[in-house]
Amino acid sequence: MSIALPAVPAVGKPRGRSLRWAPGAVAAGLVLLLVAVAAVAPRLITGADPLAADPFHALEAPSGTHWFGTDQLGRDVFTRVVHGARYSLSSGLVSTLLSVLAGGIAGLLAGLAPRAVDEVLSRALDVLSAFPEVLLALLFIAFTEPGTPSLVMAIALAFAPRYGRIVRAQTLLVRRSGYVEQAVTFGLSRARLVWRHVLPNVLGPLPVIATIGLGTAIVNASALSFLGMGPQPPSPEWGAMLAESRNYLRVAWWAAILPGATLTITVISLTAVGRRLQRRFEGRR
């Protein structure tokens, strides 16, 4: 659960600074690359089996053979973390994509349609965003089954209003802009106007906003998995690993904290890259 606000004021003023990639952003990019490799081809990073239990070596501290130590069943935590990247990244990506799509369509319709339609759609978004995100997702899962598909749908539903509002505001902005007015005076057809002028300018900023939103989606997916609503044990999902190892915290902090730390570093990297992209994007305009 992180509080992602698309409008978080950029820390450290961008004013007067060149738009080169700062070392921090490069590091963040490398972290993301590593996570992506782990998600796509975990065997490239570690050859071990994430489910192989070894009770004789349970709860061992991090060492040369077990970089992140072992958990209560003697499974290698590092291997599990590497294999877990797939769950977090895929559920984050798919749910963000779905919520951007659903929110984007609703927002675009609200921004372009006559006032009555806009009013109804905006109110619907208001209603949906009155439900705190985790609780709305829990409600959705109560009606379906715990597991990755409903987790993804639940998060997509919970975050759609956020994108809907951004797209609606952006659409209204573009609609009232000088170049659209000019195009209307030139007698462009409505379909052509929307397709050629409104759509590109509305959708432009979305990838950047979605990058920051992706981090929030990943955190929320893990939080719900931590609550037992996502992939079930023994799946090496990061949040589920934390929940499983919470009871062994006294003797083996690494089994809970290292997966959590990996998740945090991934999300921080996403946020950092997202903010950097945002600055670039805003600077260009």
Partner: protein
């Protein structure tokens, strides 16, 4: 204040509409839920057509949908949230005892986050670049970190290693400290960014120069004059923060094994006890709508420029 009346009524009205629509959506969800209500209630008990008819009559399921819907709204207005499928008790009884632990937690967390945010912002405003960079980095990490990780870190250090606080439960005030801190840190981190930005802007205003010329110390200027301006933008964040607080409380309660609405909701999701889940979610939505409406109204009071509506 007649000019203020219109925007206030407008805001209140939209709050009521959102609440009504949320309740209706919940009703629709309940009706569309997979599984027949009568089936669920019969469960493993005796199952005859008479008993089924009796249950349907007791619940009013034999009446037209509109009547049922109006009856639902009427009961909701009177605080009747239905019956738990699993526990066979009124939902109000099930969640009633769990409201206070959650409220207690969120209130303390709010207080902590305000202290953290203001302290961090005042200490770092206008300070050396490296210090601000360091604090901003910390804030970014805390805001990005999942709530359960912060909770588990605190638990690991302060409960298991140092033994200062109890590991779980809700026996006394000391059990409340770590959960409240883990809720407060991300909110404090976010708010302090906003407040610092506001403080820096306020310090560029002429009144700040005047105050400094009168011989006010930097701290007094920040605390007595600039902070008031800096808090304004923070009020607009209230809605987001309330939503976050309610969401995060669910997870933090689980981390610390505390009783509360989150615990009830999580358990009810596992049991498919939909009336209980719905009740908690609607309660959260109602709290969100009421508080964010109040925050908007407060904003109207503070900033006259918005009153034109």
């Amino acid at each position: 204040m007649p000019p203020m009346l219109k925007p206030v009524l407008r805001r209140l009205g939209s709050g009521v509409v959102v609440l009504w629509a949320a309740a209706s959506a919940a009703y629709l969800a309940l009706r569309l839920a997979p599984g027949d209500t009568v089936d669920t209630l019969v469960g493993d008990g005796p199952d005859t057509p008479q008993i089924r008819a009796q249950i349907a009559r007791d619940l009013g399921l034999d009446r037209p949908a509109v009547v049922q819907y109006l009856g639902y709204l009427w009961r909701l207005l009177h605080g009747d949230l239905g019956r738990s499928y699993v526990l066979q008790r009124p939902v109000v009884d099930v969640i009633g005892s769990q409201v206070w632990p959650t409220v207690k937690l969120t209130l303390l967390a709010t207080a902590f986050s305000a202290v953290i945010a203001v302290a961090l912002a005042i200490v770092t405003t206008g300070r050396a670049r490296w210090l601000r960079g360091l604090v901003s980095g910390l804030e970014l990490s805390i805001v990005s970190a999942p709530g359960f990780l912060i909770g588990i870190l605190l638990l690991s250090v302060f409960s298991f290693q140092l033994g200062w606080f109890p590991v779980s439960g809700d026996r006394d005030a000391s059990a409340l400290v770590l959960p409240a801190v883990s809720l407060a840190l991300p909110i404090g981190g976010l708010l302090s960014q906003v407040i610092r930005e506001g403080l820096e802007r306020a310090l560029e205003e002429p009144f700040a120069v005047t105050a400094r010329a009168r011989g006010l110390t930097r701290l007094a200027l920040l605390w007595r004059h600039a902070l008031r301006h800096a808090l304004l933008p923070a009020v607009t964040l209230a809605g987001t923060l309330i939503g976050f607080l309610l969401s995060a409380a669910v997870v933090v309660e689980r981390v610390f094994g505390r009783p509360g609405l989150g615990e009830v909701a999580t358990e009810a999701v596992g049991n498919k006890d939909i009336p209980v889940v719905l009740a908690v979610v609607m309660l959260a939505a109602a709290i969100y709508v009421v508080l964010s409406t109040l925050a908007d109204l407060a904003y109207l009071l503070i900033d006259p420029r918005l009153r034109k509506g």
